[in-house]
Amino acid sequence: MSYKYFPHTPSDIRAMLNTCGEKSLDDLYKDIPNGLILKREYDLPHAMSEVEIRRFFNDLGEYNRPLTCFVGAGCYDHYSPSVINTIISRSEFLTSYTPYQAEISQGTLQYIFEYQSMIASLTGMEVSNASMYDGCTATAEAMMMAVAATKKRTKVLISATLNPIVTRVVETYAKFHGITTDIIAQEGGVTSRDDFERKVAAGDVAGVIVPAPNFYGIVEDYTGWADFCHSHKTLLIMNCVASALGAIKSPGEWDADIAVGDGQSLGIPMNFGGPYVGFLATRKSLIRKMPGRIVGATTDADGQRAFVLTLQAREQHIRREKATSNICSNESLMALYVTIYMALMGSKGLKEVNELGYSGAHYLAEQLCQTGHFSLAFPDKPFLNEFAVKTSLPISDLQDFCAELGMQFGLKISDDTLLICVTEMRSKTEIDMLTDVIKNFIESAEEGKK
């Protein structure tokens, strides 16, 4: 029964059973009623060697086609510096648990402190937690936090221009947590100011969730929104694409109360949907309402600076059902990922990433419009590196055609609308190739008509 992950020899097992006063491994389960014991083998494959495992996944990988990516919608194909993978693969980080024993977890605690500092600065807020599962759940947590902070109010407004993937998760949490949600209408691709003011003025709203940039890539103007919220004792929650904050106005600059979002855009691989990292930052005055772990600075018995999990009295393992949230982990390793990313890129690198994405996206938008078959869905609105286009072409056929040639051309968001994204990863050659492929599609479609 010798196996590479089990060091037990038959004589080890005999000696250990002897110490326990038992005769067989089965005897260790004698406290379980016999009828509940599984008396057959699992219906699973037999063990595979590493040679077979590699072959298995190589073969299976043939059924995937990583494509040149022109889609975003919550997951972005950004440059990931090779330094990051080298460091997060270090097993001292990778194979450790939540840093409960601070004396032998200073590595984890210190990078979380750095992460909190960077996220607070990036969002323009005062404090950040140690990270959350993803952007959707972080937004849902922000919603519950707003309800807890405003007491007695149980209504939250969500902008219609928020990524619908986020909205769906927020609505699910709301339904079970006893929160009523209402959608603020959109007008021409941005959140309706009139509808926002009308609904907040009712005076029963705990929080308002608005996006930056929004689902269509548009950077909305929130001048005066925070003041309006605050005059009605409502919290303004801003859901952001982390990378975009290197260029666009930060939640702190808009005077928002809670900043949330997904940190995937800070260099984390797309990984077919995860793991990513959610961030949540807020005002210092709301720190005790904040969900999740928080790391703070302190000193040790010798007076030297050190870091420790703090304000744990908010948390589930102490407060149980009265906790601010049921969160007990963070997304620690991914927090390290984005911390190293931000350390390498700095504010200049982050800005450059946005400049490259902006330029590439606007170039592609113009190329598409020049074919005569596409037009910007919201032509007068400023966008960053994502944009929506209207087309009369059959979108699914066009996407299949592009996929055959190795390109993922946007996300279909309605029968005649595509959402397209360009990051610094896309070269002019790639964008021109995409445009050529689309022109070929148009030509063959027109020939087909003849």
Binding site: S91, L94, E103, A120, H177, G274, S347, S359, Q408, K428
Partner: protein, 494 residues
């Protein structure tokens, strides 16, 4: 070994004008970000460090030296199942054919990834004795919340709106009541008997038509198998409730027992415990949720389905209206799912069946070897973990916290301490199946040595640790000062 300079905060290594990145030249300069309306652009740059690449590498490498992981040494942290994280799992999940996929690519371009997802769903169903799984939840607590949402969706679908209470044993993990509260349920606590198992007599009067269900972990947090489980499940079912299984303690069950066969209806599994994916310093994890037949329509969107014909099959991503809604951006932590599936295929049916018995053997071996110097409140065979109530000799004043800190000096991670709450000096020890007899013997020897030190030189233990990168920390100062960013640290005095 650590370098004092590189171990500072990264902000303290920053120098104006340094950089750690390079990017391609802008090929479309005629489209300039600066042309966006000024009031939409950031006015104040984020305060991020300016550092070169080697400084970043040395900084984080030095920091890693201040950390202890499973690869460093024995990690007997109770209820956390700190097993070995096989390296082949890391290699497989990083394969570009999987890691390079965008989650919204067309289905026909991601069939291999969907097959991994689907096959892990099926494997977990077989191992747990339940019918269908979702792999979308990101962690154990997230799985609990999802499972409770399924419980409530089931009752709502029958227009049974009275069921707003969930029963939780007093020995339960703190997440259980917290998840229930987030899900809008009221927590009712059921007491434990002196032997650590649920008191059926205390349970019976709690049952009624307002009970949505009951949450249990089995073996429980004391490492004791709930021998009345069949009766408990029947009582809860008879009152119209559902049974929820907290999979945190699933490891000893592998090969021996399946939650579905014990009468549980809904459960979550911590892939980062039982299925060997790394804890990563507190995530990313993965908390798949399984249900018995009849509840699958409530599983969250999106779901992965398989369709097959005579000589073909294909996978699709589906959303339904009967689902409880969505609880994740996409299909969960896919890279974690890849690792867990690799683990299951690597061990295969024959070795997976050995995991539970060997983990249980290791726990019982430590328990029996130390019960003469540490207080063992519950006698008899345990499963994967057990609890000591501190040192046997209480006269020395040496607490469980002191013992835990002294263990660090000897190169071992500490057990889980002061949990469960049933004992004042709880010390919860969980070795996994990967630990050799020699490792356990070394741990036992150190634990005995600490007991001896407590008797002969208690101050040595009370002031531990002495040989770690930092000494015992001032938790009160941290909570009082609330310094949680570098900006605050610069302003404050520690």
């Amino acid at each position: 070994m650590n370098n004092q300079y590189y171990s500072k905060l990264i902000f303290e290594l920053s120098h104006e004008g340094r950089r750690g990145y390079s990017l391609p030249d802008n090929e479309f300069k005629e489209y300039d970000l600066a042309s966006m309306p000024q009031n939409l652009l950031r006015q104040q740059e984020p305060d991020l460090p300016q550092v070169d690449e080697l400084t970043v590498v040395r900084h984080y490498t030095n920091m890693s030296n201040n950390n202890f992981g499973v690869d460093t040494g024995f990690y007997p942290l109770g209820s956390c199942t700190m097993k070995y994280n096989p390296k082949i799992n890391e290699e497989i999940c990083a394969m570009p054919a999987f890691s390079g996929l965008h989650p919204l690519q067309q289905e026909n371009t991601v069939q291999g990834a969907l097959e991994v997802y689907y096959n892990l769903q099926r494997s977990l169903a077989e191992i747990s004795g339940l019918s269908e799984f979702t792999l979308n939840p990101y962690a154990g607590a997230h799985g609990e919340l999802t499972g409770l949402m399924i419980m409530r969706s089931y009752h709502m679908s029958r227009n049974d709106s009275k069921r707003t209470k969930v029963i939780v044993p007093d020995s339960a993990h703190g997440t259980n009541p917290a998840s229930a509260a987030v899900c809008g349920l009221e927590v009712v606590v059921v007491k434990s008997r002196p032997d650590g198992t649920v008191d059926v007599d205390d349970l019976q009067p709690l049952l009624g038509d307002d009970i949505a269900g009951m949450m249990m972990t089995n073996p429980n947090t004391l490492g004791i198998f709930e021998h009345d489980i069949a009766k408990i499940a029947q009582l809860v079912h008879d009152c119209g409730g559902l049974m929820y299984y907290d999979g945190a303690n699933l490891n000893p069950m592998l090969g021996k027992c399946r939650p579905g066969d014990l009468g549980f209806d809904i459960m979550h599994i911590n892939l980062h415990k039982t299925f060997s994916t790394p804890h990563g310093g507190g995530g990313p994890g993965s908390g798949p949720v399984g249900v018995r037949a009849g509840l699958e329509q409530f599983l969250p969107n999106p779901r992965v389905k398989r369709t097959e014909g005579d000589d073909w099959y294909q996978y699709s991503i589906e959303n339904t209206d009967s689902a409880l809604g969505s609880i994740s951006s996409f299909l969960g932590n896919f890279a974690v799912i890849m690792r867990a599936y690799t683990y299951i295929l690597t061990l295969g049916r024959e070795n997976l069946a050995q995991v539970g018995p060997l983990a249980t053997l290791n726990a019982n071996y430590i328990k029996e070897s130390l019960k003469d110097c540490y207080e063992l409140p519950l006698k008899g065979v345990c499963k994967h973990e057990f609890v000591f109530d501190g040192l046997k000799d209480k006269s020395t004043g040496v607490t469980t916290l002191d013992v835990a800190k002294r263990l660090l000096d000897y190169g071992f991670h500490a057990p889980t301490i002061y949990f469960p709450l049933l004992f004042h000096e709880a010390m919860m020890i969980e070795p996994t199946e990967n630990e050799s007899k020699e490792t356990l013997d070394a741990f036992i020897e150190v634990m005995r040595k600490i007991a001896h030190e407590a008797a002969t030189d208690p101050e040595l233990v009370k002031s531990a640790p002495h040989h770690t990168p930092v000494r015992r920390l001032d938790d009160t100062k941290a909570a009082l000062k609330q310094i949680v960013t570098f900006a605050e640290l610069r302003q404050a005095e520690l």
